[in-house]
């Protein structure tokens, strides 16, 4: 018997349930730091049949113990309680077993959401009405407003991290890169965050003292995607991403963005010159609503200090003019027979998207415990 096993067997953990109270249904994807499974609570538990998402924490870097990313996610989600933020129910453990080399695993137990926005947008059957798009965008900014007010940065805004329940409630998820921030004195953070396609220009230029504006840029990308259906700027390198941004939002110059020259990478990156802002022109084909275009215009402001914040977004005419945001998403979602998680885990027919959908790996029904 190994030492871990001995220790594990001997002690009880009054506050940490065994994960066997849930039955795994299948794997639904891969988050920043672990696999995610759909599961339901077994009949013996206090609330039988409840569907949940189990996120298994990978202990890759064994040298540093429990991963700090997982720790941040837990710490932050314990603080946040909001309709538009995914709820963390509890944290469970699996017993150390010989087949798992005596290493007990830790699982985060989340409320289960049937859809993610990435899946819905690439599903040809799904066509949201204008009012529904407003509803989705409104909930997105509501969630962001709440976390920013609580001094949390999400730092990984993308459609794959936006979950939607079958009741049409949007939930911000995957706080694996999230961090607390301070308005008063900005501390230096890593700028290696946010999936490339959703990354704002200041991060690409090496800014390390950033704030909630980084999430607002990502929110802009997501809202635009409600109309375009595919991610707006799909660069493959940071250099290319910057080029795409300049082509879309106009050249990055000290005139439109005072202080940009101070950023570390301003001189190292090639920035296309004399580009005009083509944002509205290019999005007009997709979104005819001029309020929508105006909101996007304000979210895609290059200078982070001028970019719309979540409050500005919520106050924008877009949400206060006809058609008003829908009450729910039933019109569209009720037509869907199954959750998009079911679809792509059942038949693997969407595998070609997997590379950019939350890095979902090949789906397997491997036994996890």
């Amino acid at each position: 018997m190994t030492r871990t096993e001995t220790l594990d067997k001997d002690y009880s953990y009054p506050y940490c349930n065994d994960v066997s109270k849930y039955e795994i249904i299948f794997k639904i994807g891969q988050g920043t730091f672990g696999e995610v499974f759909k599961a339901k609570s077994s009949n013996t538990s206090t609330s039988p049949g409840k569907t949940v998402a189990l996120k298994k924490i990978l202990m890759d870097n064994e040298q540093e113990g429990f991963p700090i990313t997982a720790l941040r996610e837990i710490k932050i989600l314990q603080l946040l309680r909001h309709e538009n933020i995914v709820t963390l129910h509890e944290i469970c453990r699996s017993k150390a077993q010989a087949m798992r080399k005596f290493k007990p695993s830790i699982f985060l137990v989340f409320e289960f959401c049937e859809h993610d926005l990435a899946g819905l947008l690439r599903n040809q059957e799904v066509k949201f009405t204008s009012a529904e798009k407003k509803r989705i965008a409104h909930q997105l900014f509501n969630g962001l407003h709440y976390i920013h007010k609580n001094k949390i940065l999400h730092r990984d805004m993308k459609t794959a991290n936006i979950l939607i329940t079958k009741g049409g409630i949007l939930k911000l998820a995957d706080f694996g890169l999230a961090r607390a921030f301070s308005f008063r004195d900005r501390v230096k953070y890593t700028n290696r965050v946010v999936t490339l396609w959703y990354r704002p220009p200041e991060l690409l230029l090496g800014e390390r003292e950033y704030g909630p504006e980084v999430d607002m840029w990502g929110a802009g990308c997501i809202v635009a995607e409600l109309w375009t259906g595919t991610p707006l700027m799909q660069g493959s390198t940071e250099q290319e991403q910057l080029k795409l941004i300049c082509n879309f939002c106009g050249s990055i110059t000290p005139e439109v963005w005072p202080g940009v020259t101070k950023l570390d990478l301003y001189r190292n990156m090639q920035l296309p010159e004399n580009k005009t802002r083509k944002l509205k022109e290019r999005l007009r084909h997709f979104a005819r609503d001029h309020h929508a275009l105006d909101l996007l215009d304000k979210l895609f402001i290059l200078d982070p200090s001028k970019r719309a914040n979540s409050e500005d977004a919520l106050d924008h005419d877009f949400f206060w003019t006809d058609p008003m945001p829908a009450e729910n998403l039933n019109e569209t979602l009720s037509k869907l027979r199954s959750s998009n998680f079911d679809m792509f885990s059942g038949r693997n027919n969407n595998r070609r998207y997997n590379s950019h959908v939350s890095g979902a790996s090949n789906i397997s029904h491997s036994k996890v415990f």
Partner: protein, 374 residues
């Protein structure tokens, strides 16, 4: 969530360790040793007071569920610090924590870390995590000390003195299980009241604040007690919303008071906990406390101990600092021997007296080859 971690005082006499035959006083000593070790390591690694406090709270909480007989206190303390570093965004590599532990602990104590110290610490971390319920949002009294003191009316320097003293008491309080019994705002209130008394500082509230507003603004049940001088007892009682009573506050004060009385005796083994941070360097991302109104505390007068012939930074001194004093057999049964030495001592004893005080000590002390009998 808070309530889960508040324990009745009776519980501290029915711990798993005591079921395993460790007596109460020994357990209290173990707790203090663990906390002292965390504080010394925090100082060594230049971490923040929040990291120190969180580490100590983990340590105290853990041993409400597990026994000192089964978990080595040094390894667990190291593990608590390792985890607290990550929780408070001041992460240190596991090997750095282990190296610090090796420096601070004696050879014999370090053997508890077994053949592979890092692995041992990580095994402990897993058990620790599951025991403390992944509860990472721990609030400490520090931010309340600053918040409340901001409302004091008075000269900036004197206010600063009170804050500094309360701050040091607070550092010290983590050597005791006081965080298991009282919420952080109550502890802060008690420490401020005590410090004000010690500094002969009369607590008056800022003029521009209406008293009614204050209750709302500060949201602190002990506040009524604090301003007792300027209001009636009835007023206080109507404003006490929590079950915390004046007795509780007095108890914390008594603990801290006793701490400082023991101070003279324990002086030479003192750990300079002020180094854990001072309120001037408060850098708490999540706190919205505005420190500006609190005068930066004066440099602690007594920060450096001058033990003749010993560089305070030498390894032996560090070891001595965290090693504890063997409790005497029931000589102080009812007093609380867990208590360490608040810092700075009011009034600061001149260096010459400290030597003498050793003679009156009830404790024989521990033999340290570099220093002889203490």
């Amino acid at each position: 969530m808070l309530n889960k971690w508040m324990f009745d005082k009776k519980k501290l006499r029915q711990t798993p360790s005591q079921s395993d035959g460790v007596d109460y006083l020994t357990e209290i000593r173990y707790r203090k040793e663990g906390a002292k070790f965390i504080q010394a390591a925090v100082k060594e690694l230049r971490l923040t007071h929040d990291t120190m406090a969180t580490g100590c709270v983990f340590f105290h909480r853990f041993f409400m569920f597990h026994s000192f007989e089964k978990f080595n206190r040094w390894v667990m303390a190291a593990s608590c610090l390792f985890l607290a570093g990550k929780v408070e965004e001041t992460p240190k590599l596991s090997k750095d924590i282990v190296r610090t532990a090796k420096n601070l602990l004696g050879k014999e104590q370090f053997t508890a870390f077994a053949l592979n110290p890092v692995d041992e610490m990580l095994i402990y971390e897993k058990i620790l995590l599951q025991t403390v319920k992944f509860d990472f949002n721990i609030i400490h009294p520090y931010k309340f000390i600053l918040k409340y003191a901001k409302q004091f009316r008075g000269e900036k320097n004197r206010k600063g003195d009170v804050v500094q003293m309360a701050w040091n008491y607070c550092n010290e309080s983590f050597c005791t299980p006081v965080s298991l019994h009282y919420p952080p705002d109550v502890i802060a209130g008690a420490l401020l009241t005590l410090s004000a008394k010690r500094c002969k500082f009369n607590i008056n509230l800022s003029k521009d604040i209406e008293k009614d507003d204050l209750y709302e603004q500060i949201d602190a049940p002990w506040w009524g007690y604090l301003i007792e001088s300027s209001t009636t007892v009835d007023d206080i009682n109507t404003n006490l919303q929590s079950s915390t009573t004046v007795d509780d506050i007095e108890e914390i004060q008594n603990i801290m008071q006793r701490l400082s009385e023991e101070k003279a005796d324990l002086y030479e083994d003192e750990v300079d906990v002020t180094a854990c941070d001072s309120p001037g360097n408060e850098d708490n991302e999540l706190s919205d406390v505005d420190v500006e109104d609190v005068a930066p505390p004066p440099p602690p007068r007594d920060n450096k101990r001058h033990i003749p012939g010993l560089e305070p930074s030498s390894r032996a001194a560090k070891r001595a600092a965290i090693r504890d004093i063997v409790p005497t057999n029931g000589s102080k049964t009812d007093s609380i021997p867990m208590l360490g030495e608040p810092h700075p001592p009011p009034p600061p004893a001149p260096p010459s007296r400290r030597r003498d005080s050793g003679r009156h000590r009830e404790n024989p002390g521990i033999y340290d080859p570099t220093r002889g009998f203490l």
